[in-house]
């Protein structure tokens, strides 16, 4: 984390322009914590009755046993949902989603993917997201909504039957929930990797500039 250290020179070179407003930063880190709690406790629950031919290593699970995993999952659920809902509402109300994430054009995405793979994708202006970022960030918001809806459907398949119906039936909701988790994990790996490659983006997510 030494890359976080900011020299005085850099600070004076960067104008005092806020790239990540305080609400984005606060909700981002609350979300990061909630996600990690949900994933690790979710793996504990998964291990009780694996959907596929594997289990998650015990040391990467939270809760100690199924009952503990469930307690963590259904506690962190509130953190994830309330924070996520606040993020969605603020994101739409302030126009941030529209300004930052749109438009997403196939040609733009194709161009930036090519540029990224050949290490030619610039990150000069942190305030503007490239097409790969736009696609990933918009995509992960959709995945976030899907994982909450499928999760709520699994939690209350009778009371919230319309959520289960949205996915077909109870077992399908379970698969959707798992696939969304896998997508979030994949996103996390790419996201953290890129943040470490471009440390100033991590700095912006912590101090705003």
């Amino acid at each position: 984390m030494s890359s976080l250290t900011v020299s005085g020179e850099q600070v004076s070179a960067t104008p005092a322009k806020v790239i990540q407003p305080a609400w984005v930063r606060v909700m981002h880190w609350i979300n990061a914590l909630a996600m990690i709690l949900m994933i690790l406790s979710g793996w504990q629950i998964y291990n009780a009755s694996p959907l596929f031919g594997f289990s998650f290593p015990r040391e990467y699970t939270l809760g100690g046993w199924l009952g503990g995993g469930l307690l963590w999952h259904f506690a962190a659920m509130w953190l994830l949902m309330i924070n996520g809902l606040a993020y969605l509402i603020t994101g739409f109300a302030t126009g941030r989603f529209r300004k930052k994430l749109l438009p997403i054009t196939p040609s733009g995405v194709l161009h930036d993917v090519r540029a990224a793979l050949t290490f030619k994708l610039g990150h000069d202006d942190l305030a503007v997201y490239n097409y790969v970022q736009r696609l990933l960030y918009a995509g992960i918001i959709v995945v976030g909504v899907l994982i909450v809806l499928s999760g709520l459907g699994m939690w209350k398949p009778v009371q919230l039957y319309y959520l289960v119906m949205l996915f077909g039936d109870y077992p399908t909701a379970r698969y959707v929930h798992f696939i969304c988790m896998a997508a979030i994990c994949a996103f996390l790996v790419i996201h953290v990797l890129l943040a470490l490659l471009v440390p100033k983006s991590l700095r912006a997510m912590i101090i705003g500039r």
Partner: protein, 260 residues
């Protein structure tokens, strides 16, 4: 507004502030260490077992109680669990318990009696023969296990609410508490509103045949609005009560309402 000065007779303001500052860093430092330590544990980077500490457990137990209340709040007594055609039945329907099938209670139906206790007018015990004479209905519903798997089964028996009415139960009471013949004395409380749900059933038959030992002979309580562990098998007694008496899995940390 006029500036008001806070004067406490006999106390030097400057000294008071000095003392407060001396006291403060200690307090904030302690807070910081406590906060930092639990955050470190949450990220599991240290492998430290603060996650299993009593403070985390107390917090989780409180949230679980809150979740009980939320589930009770959104529980709609008229919402029916989905029913399925016979072709959807899971074959074979799984045997599931914390012991092997060989260790499941092997009950002699002729000797067995259902004991009725608590806030009811008629506390007489019921033989299986007497219970079999009650009107029965069939339901094909999904059993959802707390582990996540599910299976569709065909259950036939008497709606529990009809039986509660028959024995003159006080339906304003909070729970119907079931005790079972399992080893370790399995038991589980069912909140009254779920007990009165039209699909909650005293089950005597599976797939139109006498309930096999694997699924809880002679009587299982089938609650399609609850997770599987809230569906007690090999039931020997029921008690209508206002007291929360805990349950086999509930006491170990499973959420007590566990509604579906």
């Amino acid at each position: 507004m006029a500036k008001r000065s806070f004067l406490i007779p006999g106390v030097d303001k400057r000294l008071l502030i000095k003392d407060s500052i001396k006291a403060m860093p200690d307090f904030t430092r302690r807070r910081f260490i406590a906060g930092g330590a639990s955050l470190g544990a949450l990220t599991l980077l240290t492998g430290c077992d603060v996650v299993d500490s009593s403070s985390a457990e107390t917090m989780l137990a409180k949230v679980s109680k809150f979740n009980d209340a939320v589930q009770a709040f959104i529980f709609n007594p008229d919402a029916l669990a989905p029913t399925f055609p016979e072709s959807a039945i899971t074959k074979p329907f799984p045997f599931n318990a914390y012991y092997d099938l060989d260790d499941a209670p092997d009950i002699d139906g002729a000797d067995w009696k259902l004991e009725v206790r608590g806030l009811v007018d008629n506390k007489k015990s019921w033989t299986l023969e007497e219970l079999y004479k009650l009107p029965q209905v069939n339901q094909i519903t999904r059993h959802i296990c707390v582990e996540g798997w599910s299976a569709i089964g065909s259950w036939t028996g008497t709606p529990l609410r009809d039986f509660l009415k028959l024995i003159g139960a006080d339906t304003r009471a909070k729970y119907v508490w079931f005790q079972c013949a399992d080893k370790d004395g399995y038991n589980s409380p069912l909140d009254m509103r779920s007990a009165l749900h039209p699909q909650t059933q005293m089950t005597f038959k599976y797939a139109n045949e006498i309930l096999p030992r694997a699924y809880g002979f002679p009587m299982k309580i089938r609650v399609p609005t609850k997770l599987g562990f809230k569906n007690p098998k090999y039931v020997v007694s029921m008690e209508v009560t206002n007291e929360y008496k805990g349950g086999y899995w509930e006491d170990q940390g499973y959420n007590s309402f566990s509604g579906s």
